[in-house]
Every structure is written in C-alpha cells, then in structure tokens.
C-alpha cells in the first residue's frame, strides 16, 4: 500500500464522465478528495489523495492519462523559496493541516508536503512572497 497526492485536471469534453468511480471499481483504490472545483470555462480540477497497490496506482494513472486527464504530483505544486523565506513563521498560524511548522529547536520553517492539502490560505500571507502555489 502506498499513498500519493495528485492534482487531476479534466478538460471540458470529459468533465461529466464518472472517472473517479472507475478508480475504485477497476483499480481498487481508496481515495480522499481534498479539493475539487470546476472553473467557468468548464475545466475541472481535483486534488486527490489515493491509497493502494503501487502497480494499480500506476495503471490508474495510465488510464487517467489515456482518458485525457492531466495528472500532476500535488506536492510539487507548492514551492517555498527558501532564499526568500526569513523563517518568521506567520504562515504556520494559517496552515490548518500544520504542513508548515517551525522546527522546535532551530525555529526554521519546515514544509511537510504530505500534509499539504493545497488550500492556498498561506499564499497571500507571506510578507516576502516566498510561498508560491501553482495549481
């Protein structure tokens, strides 16, 4: 069993298809939809955490790609520019899942990608613009 967090982008022509259903039915995956949205031009985005057998996850991703869904690793979508960051920690008060914390000894910022649900609450709180979110 492994766990992966993915951002799925659904183009307009398949946005109405029951694709996530297939993930359970065909590939026996457990999943947790962390965020989902459909933008006005009808592109769907979904942040999903999937859990299952590695081979089946790979097959599921292949299936998704073949269907026209673009698949990205979610954790890559938040970038903290450590050259800009001054380790103040203001973002740690905003981060509801505590993916952003200060180390208890060094008081430097730590980012635990596994905990991040890409809620983007932190994006506009950084005074030195060190947090960049790409979704």
């Amino acid at each position: 069993m492994i766990k992966r967090k993915l951002v799925l982008s659904f183009p307009e022509n398949i946005v109405t298809k029951p694709i996530t259903y297939k993930l359970v039915k065909e590939f026996n995956l457990e999943f947790n939809i962390l965020r989902a949205e459909i933008t006005p031009n009808m592109e769907g985005k979904m942040l999903i955490e999937i859990r299952g057998d590695k081979a089946q996850i790979d097959q599921a991703i292949e299936y998704l790609t073949d269907t026209g869904v673009s698949v990205q690793e979610a954790a890559k979508d938040i970038i903290i520019d450590m050259n800009q960051c001054v380790d103040c920690g203001i973002c740690t008060s905003i981060c509801i899942t505590q993916a952003l914390t200060l180390d208890s000894k060094s008081f430097k910022l730590k980012f635990n990608k596994d905990k991040c649900i890409l809620c983007e609450l932190c994006r506009d709180c950084c005074p030195v613009s060190a947090i960049k979110v790409h979704i």
Partner: protein, 388 residues
C-alpha cells in the same frame, strides 16, 4: 562586584571576553547561579528581526550640472521627502510606489540600494538663481551617491500585543492575515532574545549605545517615537505591552540584505524587516537578574484586531512560551499562533554579534545619556483651538 565598560573592552582587546547570547544565559544562570554568572560572563547579546515600519534612509545624491534644488523626488517611482536641503531626501520604508502600489515601496528602494542595484531617480524643482535646473532623470547606485544612512525613528519595541480576529471575515493587518472566528493569532516580539526586554529599565542601553544594525555597526541615536516606559510592568521589570522604543542610525552602505529586507503585508502595505543586535554588558549582579528572563516570564496581551478602534477588546494576557508553542487558547478554543518576526534570524544575529565581540571587531560603548523613564504617550484628539 561591578564591572565597567572599560574593563569589558580590555577583555575584548585581549580576547578574554566571555559572551553568551540572551538564550544561553538562561541555562547558564540556572546552572551556576546569579553570582557566578555575573562574575564569569561579560556580555550578553540580544537581538530581534522583525518588520519595523518606522524606518527609512537619508540620502544625499550630490549635485548635477547645472545644480538643482529638488522639490519633488521619486526613487523607482516611490516618492521621497525632499523638504530639506537641495539634494537631500528621506525615503520612508512604508511609502508606496505610485505605479506598483503595495508591490513596491520605500523599503524595496532601500533594499535595492543595499543590493547594489541601479535605482531610477526622478526630481522636479521650481528653479532659483542659485539652482537653475528644473528637472532631472538619472540612475543611481549606493556607490554613486554620497551619504546614505538608515535613520529609523521607532525600532526594537519593548514588547508588542498579539493579534486575533473575532469577526466572521478574514482581515489583513500589519499583524498579518488574521482568519475569521479566531482562526489564528500572531505576535511579534523576540521575547527572551529581545533587547529592551533584557534591559527593561534601560540601565545599559541608552543614547549613543553602539549596536548591530542590519549588518553594520550603528548607534542608538535617541529614544524612539511613542517611547512609553510608564506601561504596566511585572515584578521582573518587563512591560506587558509596547513600552520603550529606540531611534536607530547606521550606514546603509555597510548593511547586508540578509538583515535588512523589504516586505509587503497584503492589504496593509510595505514595511521592512530590520535586524538589530544589542550587546548588554554584565555590569553587576542586578543585570543578570534581568538578563536571565525567559519566554515564560514575559507576557503580552491579545487584542481583537477586527475592532477598528484605538482601544481594542482584550482576550487576556499570555506568555511567549505559550505563543511560541504554536497553539494557545482563546475563549476555550485552540488557536494556532505564528510570529511575524523571525526568532531564528534574531538568534542568528545574536550569534553574529557574539562572534564579532569575541573576535575583537565590536567594542562596547557606555551610553552618553539615558533613555527617559518618565515619558508618556499622548493620543491625538480632534479639537478646536479653543478646546486645547
């Protein structure tokens, strides 16, 4: 046994000085006691690295030919105050760009100068017999200008309130983004590392004290604006809110971008992280009593920033150990906390200053005049002349 600044400087000269930072002294005193600590430790370095809006720089550009008496001045489209001599200006950290709004401002101009980047200078003038030029547009760097010194009217505040938001909408303040329904709380003091909390009655820090200012050796030039030493204090001497403050001065050309950094608080404006380190000489045992202060001995008050009034509702007092733990309780609800000043960078500064003193690169000064202990803070009331 009392120690003089001269004796400490002699020890710096002979490399025998013992320096601890304001965090290390806590355990040292716990282990060895007041008497021994006062005897063995010569200097304790304190520091802070936080956003300080009341900052800015005086700059002299030198004269063009023909010369100009600048009336309006812009640096990278940020207005600078030119109501002083012909080619002198003051650029305030919080001044906003006329073209980029909150994304750029005085603090960014200052940072660009420190980084050695070119800055566009534009000025207009009314022209006089002695200064005939009426406008100029050119580029400057820190190497083409004459004097450039940071002169910050209010820095290193002695404690500051924590902020939370009871309303049902997110608010954007100088204390950062505050989520609705007490979604978070922010605070700013460096607590146990903070200079004026380690010398609460200004026994050693005074006018003329040499300090670490953003990487350079600067000075305390005066007591800061809104210096309000009469605030309520605990038995250990520390005030529970903003009491004392310092006006600081130092050579911008010698500063480091690591310790002077422009920033923007979304929805509030531009300000500047200023890194300050102040060495406190261990002149006697009483000084150790103050220097041994730790986060849990220092309290501040939590205010509701959704109330847009001078007096905001308070949600009680809390100490810095609780604030720094990342979680506090307000109205029986757990609230995540975050600091808007960097403890890690403050700690770094306290260690840089420590090394400089140990290596004989930084000598201590006695203050030339004390900071007042009696000053009080006024409010601005709207009055007619007759009501004054």
């Amino acid at each position: 046994m009392a120690k003089t600044i001269e004796e400490i400087n002699e020890k710096i000269k002979s490399r025998k000085v013992v320096v601890l930072n304001a965090e290390e002294i806590i355990d040292y005193v716990k282990e060895k006691g007041i008497k021994k600590a006062a005897k063995e430790v010569d200097v304790v370095t304190t520091a802070t690295f936080g956003p300080m809006c009341s900052s800015g720089a005086f700059i002299n550009f030198g004269h063009p030919d023909p010369p100009i008496k600048m009336t309006k001045v812009w640096l990278n489209d940020v207005p600078a105050y030119a109501g002083i001599a012909a080619v002198d200006v003051y650029i305030g950290a919080a001044e906003l760009s006329e073209t980029k709004g909150m994304n750029y401002g005085g603090a960014y101009v200052i940072e660009d100068l420190v980084l050695g980047k070119p800055v566009k200078l534009r000025a207009t003038a009314y022209g006089t017999n002695c200064y005939s030029r009426r406008e100029i547009e050119t580029y400057i760097t820190k190497d083409t200008i004459n004097q450039a010194y940071l002169f910050n009217p209010r820095n290193a505040l002695q404690n500051y309130p924590a902020a939370a938001n009871s309303s049902n909408r997110t608010i954007y303040t100088y204390m950062g983004k505050l989520l609705p329904n007490f979604g978070n709380a922010t605070y700013t003091s460096a607590g146990q590392l903070s200079p004026l909390l380690n010398d609460p009655y200004y026994r050693t820090i005074g006018i003329g004290t040499r300090i670490f200012l953003a990487g350079s050796q600067g000075y305390v030039s005066w007591y800061g604006t809104q210096h309000n030493p009469g605030k309520e204090r605990l038995a250990n001497g520390t005030p529970c809110g903003p009491a004392g403050s310092l006006a600081l001065i130092g050579n911008l050309k010698e500063m480091s971008p690591r310790y002077l950094k422009a920033c923007t608080f979304q929805g509030y404006g531009v300000t500047m992280f200023v890194g300050i380190g102040i060495p406190i000489p261990v002149i006697d045992e009483e000084m150790i009593e103050f220097l041994k202060i730790k986060d849990e001995d220092i309290y501040t008050e939590i205010f509701d920033y959704s109330v847009q009034r001078r007096n905001k509702p308070s949600y009680g007092k809390i100490n810095y150990k609780q604030l720094r733990s990342g979680k506090i309780k307000i109205n029986d609800k757990f609230v995540q906390t975050g600091s808007i000043s960097s403890y890690s960078r403050a700690l770094e500064i306290s260690n840089v200053l420590k090394k400089e003193i140990e290596n004989g690169k930084f000598y201590l000064t006695a203050s030339v005049a004390p900071l007042p202990l009696e000053e009080k803070s006024n409010n601005l009331e709207i009055l007619s002349k007759e009501e004054l």
